[in-house]
């Protein structure tokens, strides 16, 4: 699979998920997510268990995540609690991962995902992994970033 094809599938998937869950319009960002302040970013990962091994990660600016949580749970972020906010991020990634695999794998190929979990922010995936940065609505800076692990990226490029 060519990188450009993967890019367009990922953008379609991410835009669909954010529109459905958060009514947000998503675009590819020109500037990468600023991770210089790791404490301002929340991160989750999900394992691909079959038909190949790999991992997807979602890193999101906490300010935007809280904004989304407030809109979804219809209460101030302070009252929602950290666990629910991370749960929202995990659900976003879970939905993106399933939707992405449904689109890149043949219809008769079964796939299995693990349970999403919170991780610490890493500045870049090691090796030949890939990152996609997205901005929401009219924000100039990227609001979140989706990463594919090197093994997963390599497998998909070979499809």
């Amino acid at each position: 699979m060519e990188r450009a094809v993967m890019d367009s599938i990922l953008i379609e998937v991410v835009a669909g998920v954010l529109e459905s869950l958060a009514f947000a319009e998503v675009f590819a960002a020109n500037r990468p997510l600023d991770f210089s302040h790791a404490e301002k970013v929340n991160s989750v990962a999900i394992e691909i268990l079959a038909p190949f091994a790999g991992q997807l990660e979602l890193h999101m600016r906490r300010a935007y995540l809280c904004e989304m949580a407030e809109a979804l749970f219809t209460e101030p972020a302070a009252g929602i609690g950290r666990e629910k906010i991370i749960d929202l991020l995990a659900e976003l990634l879970n939905t993106m991962a399933g939707s992405f695999l449904s689109m890149v794998l043949a219809a008769d190929v079964k796939f299995r995902l693990g349970v999403p979990r919170e991780i610490d922010w890493r500045p870049a995936p090691p090796g030949d992994g890939a990152q996609w940065h997205f901005r929401v609505d009219d924000d100039a800076a990227a609001s979140f970033c989706l990463c594919l692990s090197p093994d997963c990226y390599k497998t998909l490029r070979g499809l």
Partner: protein
């Protein structure tokens, strides 16, 4: 459709399903929640669940195991089941339908998608 059991380990997903169901006219239903298949079976044993909406990937007991348990016990034959999952590819869909699901809906979905499924498979809903 008076009692609806929503099974998902994610609070966000359960809340989203409930909001969708309320948006399409189930605002007077009683919603029950379970975080995994085992909790769902406990709710089902108490009886009176008309519709079960379940995710697939969950810790402790996943959605497929829940469907198998329900099929084996035969106590829950009248319970209508909708599977909602991010892993909604067609290969898995056929297995889930064979296990008793009326429909398999892939995430992300809109309230109208859920409405269409319920109208198609549960006309009286």
């Amino acid at each position: 459709m008076r009692r609806i059991l929503v099974v998902d380990d994610s609070d966000t997903a359960r809340m989203f399903v409930k909001r969708c169901l309320e948006a399409i006219g189930f605002n007077e239903a009683e919603f029950l929640a379970a975080a995994n298949g085992r909790q769902a079976l406990e709710c089902l044993r108490n009886g009176g669940v008309d519709l079960l909406v379940t995710d697939l990937t969950m810790p402790v007991m996943d959605g497929e195991e829940l469907l198998r348990a329900m099929q084996e016990s035969r106590r829950y034959l009248g319970t209508r089941i909708i599977v909602i999952s991010s892993a909604g590819n067609m290969a898995r869909k056929q297995e889930l339908l064979a296990l008793g699901a009326l429909a398999v809906l892939a995430k992300p979905f809109a309230p109208t998608d859920l409405y269409k499924v319920l109208r198609a498979f549960i006309p009286e809903a």
